[in-house]
């Protein structure tokens, strides 16, 4: 039994390692083709990435990525592809900013109110897709991606001077949150780390606990593994789809919070976009595992941070985008290969062990 555990661990690590090594090899070839030295590029990235301001930057960047990956992973664990985390976090952050900007309460009420509004809006936005899937059998990939567009349009419409936003120079944004709504920071040098990293870590722990230790999580994973078996086992698959989408959307609602409560204090035209899609890549890379996704989010932050430095060294900055893309492709392929290999290896092993047992008992009977 111990052996199987060890094999499982090796197999679990094999896929990401295989993927990253393959990605590095492919990127090296690409950099080499452009006539530059790939190893020097890696040297630059490692040197620059390990500077302390880079480290702070990476952690702050990784925090929303991680939350986004968690939101995607909740869906993945039950075979739902919530591609709409992007729209969910944006519309959630927008309304949270609007509510937060119009209230002036003490911080210990103000901040939870903002966060809860964001989670609720995110949940509702994702819940629409869940409802459509359950009642009308609309594929969640289609509905969530369309809800992304609808969400962007709604924000675009409301984010105008005289509606829910105000103008400041060239920028249009929602009213500033009061100072009481500023989230705490961890005082590091040279720049502070967002306190929201704590919330992200808690969210990761909650994700692990709920999925792996509760009945609800078991039901959710059961649906992900086999809808028919889940139904026969007594799980209401439809209800589970809605619940999972709500949870995924609520988690997505947190994605914009580090920015809103720690950097911008408003939702403006310059609010970061695309984190929802990054989350998909990170969830894939981290195997839906809370630790794995944290490492993947940090890797993503590292690549983005050091990519800017490569430009100064005369490399094309796009090379980082290439690395990221190649990693995701390699990951998807590597996981499937390793999964199939693992399943086969285990089946073979079980077969062999049982055959050995049978032979032994045969011999025992024959000699008896």
């Amino acid at each position: 039994m111990k052996k199987f555990d060890k094999n499982k661990l090796i197999l679990g690590l094999a896929a990401p390692v295989l993927a990253i090594v393959t990605a590095l090899v492919i990127t090296s070839v690409i950099i080499g083709v452009t006539g530059k030295d790939p190893f020097h590029a890696y040297q630059v990235m490692v040197d620059f990435g390990s500077k302390s301001d880079s480290q702070v930057w990476i952690i702050n960047k990784a925090t929303p990525y991680y939350l986004s990956a968690l939101a995607v992973a909740i869906g993945f664990r039950m075979n739902l592809f919530n591609i709409g985390v992007d729209g969910q976090y944006r519309i959630a952050a927008f309304f949270a900013a609007v509510v937060g900007g119009s209230l002036a309460l003490p911080g210990f009420i103000q901040i939870p109110v903002i966060i809860l509004v964001a989670m609720a809006v995110g949940a509702i936005w994702a819940g629409i897709a869940g409802l459509l899937k359950v009642t009308r059998n609309v594929n969640e990939v289609i509905s969530t991606i369309m809800l992304n567009a609808i969400g962007a349009s709604i924000i675009g419409y409301l984010l105008q001077d005289g509606r829910l936003a105000e103008k400041e120079g060239n920028l249009i944004h929602t009213p500033y949150l009061p100072d009481s709504a500023h989230f705490f920071e961890i005082p590091t040098q040279p720049k502070p780390i967002f306190g929201f990293v704590v919330i992200a870590a808690l969210a990761g722990a909650a994700y692990w606990f709920v999925l792996n230790r509760t009945r609800f999580g078991f039901d959710l994973r059961t649906v992900g593994r086999s809808e028919s078996a889940a139904q026969a086992s007594g799980v209401s698959v439809k209800r589970m789809i809605i619940t999972a989408m709500l949870l995924s959307g609520a988690m997505a609602g947190l994605v914009g919070m580090p920015t809103l409560l720690g950097v911008s204090y408003n939702y403006g035209t310059d609010f970061p976009t695309g984190i929802g899609f990054t989350g998909i890549a990170i969830a894939l890379l981290g195997r839906n595992n809370p630790i794995g996704m944290a490492l993947a989010a940090l890797l993503w932050g590292f690549l983005e941070r050091t990519g800017t430095q490569l430009e100064f060294e005369g490399y094309a900055q796009e090379i980082v985008g290439v690395i990221q893309g190649v990693i995701v492709l390699c990951v998807v392929i590597a996981y499937e290969i390793v999964r199939r290999y693992g399943l086969k290896a285990q089946q073979r092993k079980v077969g062999e062990e049982l055959a050995a047992q049978a032979r032994k008992s045969d011999k025992a009977e024959a000699s008896a």
Binding site: M1, R215, F216, S228, A229, G234, G351, L354, A355, E365
Partner: protein, 567 residues
Amino acid sequence: MELAGITKRFPGVVANHDIHLTVRRGTVHALCGENGAGKSTLMKILYGMQKPDEGTITLDGEQVSLHTPADAIARGIGMVHQHFMLADNLTVLENVVLGAEKMHGIGNKARARIKEISDAYGLGVRPDVLVEDLGVADRQRVEILKVLYRGARTLILDEPTAVLVPQEVDALFDNLRELKAEGLTVIFISHKLGEVLSVADDITVIRRGTTVGTAIPSETTPKQLAELMVGEELPSPETRESTVTDVPMLTVDGLHLSATDSDGVVRAVLDGISFTIHKGEVLGLAGVEGNGQAELVEAIMGMRHPDGGSVTLDGADITQAPTRKRREDGIGYIPEDRHRHGLLLEAPLWENRILGHVTEKPNSKKGLIDIKAARADTERIVREYDVRTPGIEVTAASLSGGNQQKLIVGREMSHEPKLLIAAHPTRGVDVGAQAQIWDQIREARREGLAVLLISADLDELIGLSDTLRVMFRGRLVADADPATITPEELGSAMTGAASGHLEHHEAGEAPEAPEAGETPEAGKAPKAPETPETPESPESSESSESSEDSENPNENPNENEEGGDAK
């Protein structure tokens, strides 16, 4: 055709090991062995779907290696799969020419060729009928014709009788004899001994992945063959003393369910189903698959919502209860398709042990999964139900079918069910596990369990049930007393030919016929009460148990006749 020293290491199931098989041209050669013995693997090797790790295949004195089914077809080997591979929305002609368009085109030439083959072997195939309008037996004939059309001289039939009622089996055997008479070779895979003995010229027995012996039907009794196959004394599904009480456990009243079929037509798949199962009673439901049994089970489990009627469990109306509530209230469920409904194939065994009982002890406490207790209980199930596995961390997919089923039975029995729904509980399960599962059902029944048993194995149904019902096109059309009914009589009701209360008729039949009927698949010969482990070698099992042979003397004369015809 000769196979020598074939070895195949294959995941999960018993590997083929040093197989030797010699098939004479123009004969029906039966390959028998219990489920999971490696018959199908061997046939896949022969048909080019699997490559053997070791060993040689020789066809007409020439050593060949078959890489794909196309290679096999080119050498005149054709396979009729257990699960038909036909397109329902095409005609017979279209199905036959599909993929073989180059042979005789797709028009009148092909039609003429089909007619010719059909007439030559007495298959009675009509080329222009839609496959969806055909019954199971007809579809099987289309499959056979498909293979012959492609020029096969050797036919492999994988468990061809599993889906047929007894009358259809006889018709199939007539077809096989025609084929043989025309000089074709048939390899017939089965684990039903009565069938094997009645149709085969030679028999090769496989046990635990290796050939353990050959037999000639005229010189072998079913019992000897069975023991060769199993290596031990055979179990019997017979239930001895009645434990039926008059306390109703499950009452189904006027159940009605409509469903839209593939053509968009709304049909009643369950129509006015009413029955009661009492404590300690096994109600057996016979019927050709697809007549509403699966829907009935799903309606009782709460997986489908009937549009009329009521379901009462132990005095409580559960018509509207969700599936989980029903399970908590004491319905145990052994599903027909364990891969789809009974297991999480990629999850470890201990998680599979939780499946379906996540809210019950020992699996969880106050909303939290109790992993430690669940694991410990999985160990117990593995031990008590003899699930052959190296540990509880392996995935369910790596176990063989019989062991998967034992795990499911163990799980369902571990929650003190009031009602057990057992759909084909021993399908794809080896004989040893079969006996165990039967024992467990009997044991639980003694303790007051009510059982709804659905099975395609009529001997199992008749042997285990206290009451028998026959389902046909969504209705319960007949009932019968398992003590007197024969599989043939049950079979005629399953095809809709008989209804009402089935009486056992002895008058019109030959004196020995009823006896034959009671053990038509003589492999299920009654169990000798205290037989110790029988020696396993073929020689010794042929000589042993001669005292029991008198039980099935009527099988032999027929065999001699047929054997004579063949030569």
